[in-house]
């Protein structure tokens, strides 16, 4: 019974042989009708809970931000009069805005570039025929489950200007202690270190997965051609990982340009240092919106941040495409 049921044509034949009489025919027509509707309507039925919720929680806010950014809008008072692009003009004229743009980019570059390079190296090493593979893979992923706020607090202490471990090591090595919490580049380095701590292992696993998807034949061919391990890494592995590298770069761009948690807890005030040495764009949004209670301006910065992310993503994409086509010509 169960076996014959799996034979496809059987069921329709059973349906197409109704009991005699018009009643049976009508019932058949009805059940076919239901089935037809089932096929047509079900997909929409299944996606609709997702899309309704997604529209409310995800899409509506995006559009509404644009609306808010065009108005005078106060945290307490609510919607004020329509002001057009005034909020944008105001924000763009602020030195703090450009300071935040610069800081965000500086922290982003300092974190993403070493992160991708180190992750590639770790992945290449993990790709070897290791004992206890799972142990090492899990080991590099431990930082991923530490909340960014906890990471921020811990590194804030490690990078403390006085009595910090890192300055302790520096002075023990005969160097001058670095003022991590007052010099702008130093603070960016410290914050980038936190980001790298949390994400390098994660990205290494992504690269590792991509490496393992490369067919063995390619490496065999390279071995036959006399390429050593290092040469294979640069001439075979890295070029074949290009799509994955692009993926990692784009996701880390999206994440990196939004950075908030780590710099927020890098000192007590949360404004990014006495002179806003490490205030990022998202921290600036927070300051405008919840510090100064100006939702219109905060929304304007949010939209500008979005535009920046889109531009960078496009830029990444174009560069990646160009590199890809050049590689093809070789």
């Amino acid at each position: 019974m169960a076996v014959t049921d799996r034979v496809k044509p059987r069921s329709p034949r059973r349906q197409s042989l109704p009991p005699e009489g018009t009643k049976g025919v009508r019932r058949l027509a009805f059940s076919q009708q239901v089935s037809k509707w089932d096929v047509k309507v079900s997909p929409y039925l299944y996606i609709s809970p997702f899309f309704i919720l997604f529209a409310i929680t995800g899409l509506f806010p995006l559009v509404y931000t644009a609306w808010v950014s065009l108005h005078n809008w106060n945290l307490i008072g609510g919607q004020g009069k329509f002001t057009g692009l005034e909020n944008y003009a105001f924000v763009v004229a602020q030195p703090y805005f450009w300071n935040a743009v610069g800081n965000t980019f500086s922290i982003f570059i300092l974190s993403s570039v070493p992160q991708v390079v180190i992750a590639l190296v770790i992945a290449a090493v993990l790709d070897a025929n290791l004992r206890a593979r799972t142990f090492w893979r899990m080991g590099v992923l431990v930082p991923f489950v530490v909340a960014p706020v906890a990471v921020g607090l811990i590194f804030n202490n490690l990078f403390a200007d006085q009595f910090g471990l890192i300055n302790g090591v520096l002075t023990a090595a005969g160097l001058d202690p670095v003022r991590w919490h007052s010099e702008s580049v130093a603070s960016h380095l410290a914050i980038a270190t936190m980001v790298n701590f949390r994400w390098t292992g994660y990205n290494a696993l992504i690269f590792l997965a991509a490496m393992q998807a490369i067919l063995r034949d390619v490496f065999e061919a390279a071995t036959i051609d006399g390429a050593g391990r290092l040469r294979q890494f640069f001439s075979v592995t890295v070029p074949m990982l290009r799509p994955t590298v692009i993926f990692v770069v784009i996701t880390s761009t999206i994440g990196g340009l939004q950075i908030f948690d780590e710099p927020r807890v890098f000192d007590q005030s949360g404004l990014g240092g006495a002179d806003r040495q490490w205030q990022t764009l998202t921290m600036y949004i927070w300051e405008l919106g919840w510090g100064q209670r100006n939702f219109g301006r905060a929304s304007a910065v949010a939209w500008l941040l979005f535009l920046i992310i889109v531009l960078i993503a496009l830029f990444n994409f174009l560069i990646a495409k160009r590199i890809a086509s050049q590689g093809g010509r070789k």
Partner: protein, 305 residues
């Protein structure tokens, strides 16, 4: 010419040996690079250093958290002190730690469950059913993953305060109930994991669509759903920006509470770092229990994405 079969032979022999070592649980075309040569001391040394770098900040946190507040001014400690419980007690005194832990647990569980349920349902349609506009809608959803969450923060706050939900857990849960990532992740998986023929077969046998989903689609999606739940749980647990904005300090999630430890004018770092340890322990336990799945989830997502 004669060297080629020789190399092939050594390579394949090595691969067989490696496969044997890998054991029956392993899969995939190859485990190690080309040759099956065991890596040497340098490789393990490098990995050991990476592991140390991964664990050291946590150890440091425990180290400082187990001494009193003056420890760092006396020099760098090497071994843990006996003060951890005292500092932990101070953590419990100064922030609503257990309440925050409970809140984080509720928010993370509810969010993970709802993301999984709504994504699975939608993805069954996206991956396996044909309907007008399916491709466009899917691309649209995935494209929104590039939109920063900050973009929606101001309006979300306006909506939440109009509803009177600011300060309540609903304000944290509701914006997270569905994610574009969930749909992206599950679609990748279900497309391969569930053959179209299977659905056609049960349909032929007279199953309705919802039965096909429940008996065929849902079970096939379960491994990916478990990983999605794990990821959503970790992401929600560690999330800070939105809960920080919308919750009261009296009713926080763990990261929000943790941040409060440092907000005082006089900062006792032994207490702050003891708090960081306490807040990290639950996720570390989860990681020990499910870290293997998390690893394979990341690697699977990477290959398909």
């Amino acid at each position: 010419m004669s060297s080629i079969p020789m190399i092939e032979q050594t390579v394949s022999k090595g691969a067989a040996r490696a496969a044997a070592r890998r054991g029956p649980g392993a899969r995939g075309p190859r485990a190690g690079r080309g040759s099956a040569r065991r890596p040497g001391f340098l490789t393990y040394g490098f990995l050991g250093a990476v592991l140390l770098a991964s664990l050291f900040p946590l150890y440091w946190s425990f180290l400082v958290g187990s001494h009193d507040s003056t420890v760092l001014s006396r020099g760098i400690p090497l071994l843990p002190g006996g003060n951890f419980l005292v500092n932990a007690a101070k953590v419990f005194d100064s922030i609503p730690f257990w309440k925050a832990m409970g809140n984080s647990l509720i928010v993370s569980c509810v969010t993970a469950a709802s993301v999984v349920v709504f994504s699975t349902l939608a993805v069954f349609a996206f991956a396996k059913l044909r309907f007008r506009g399916s491709k466009g809608l899917l691309v649209f959803v995935i494209a929104t993953m590039a939109v920063p969450t900050q973009l929606g923060v101001v309006p979300l706050f306006i909506v939440m305060s109009k509803l009177g939900w600011t300060g309540s857990l609903w304000a944290v849960i509701i914006p997270g109930v569905v994610t574009a990532f969930g749909v992206f992740w599950m679609t990748q998986y279900l497309r391969d994991a569930l053959p179209d023929e299977l659905i056609e077969a049960v349909r032929m046998d007279g199953a309705s669509m919802i039965q096909a989903f429940w008996y065929i689609g849902f079970p096939a999606a379960r491994p990916a759903a478990a990983m999605l739940a794990l990821f959503t749980f970790v992401a929600t647990w560690t999330n800070f920006f939105w809960p920080f904005i919308v919750l009261d300090p009296s009713n926080p999630t763990l990261p929000v509470a943790l941040q409060l430890l440092q907000a005082a004018h006089f900062v006792d770092y032994s207490v702050v770092l003891a708090g960081a340890v306490l807040a990290t322990v639950p996720l570390l336990l989860l990681f020990i229990a499910a870290g293997r799945q998390l690893v394979s989830g990341i690697m699977q997502g990477a290959v398909k994405g």
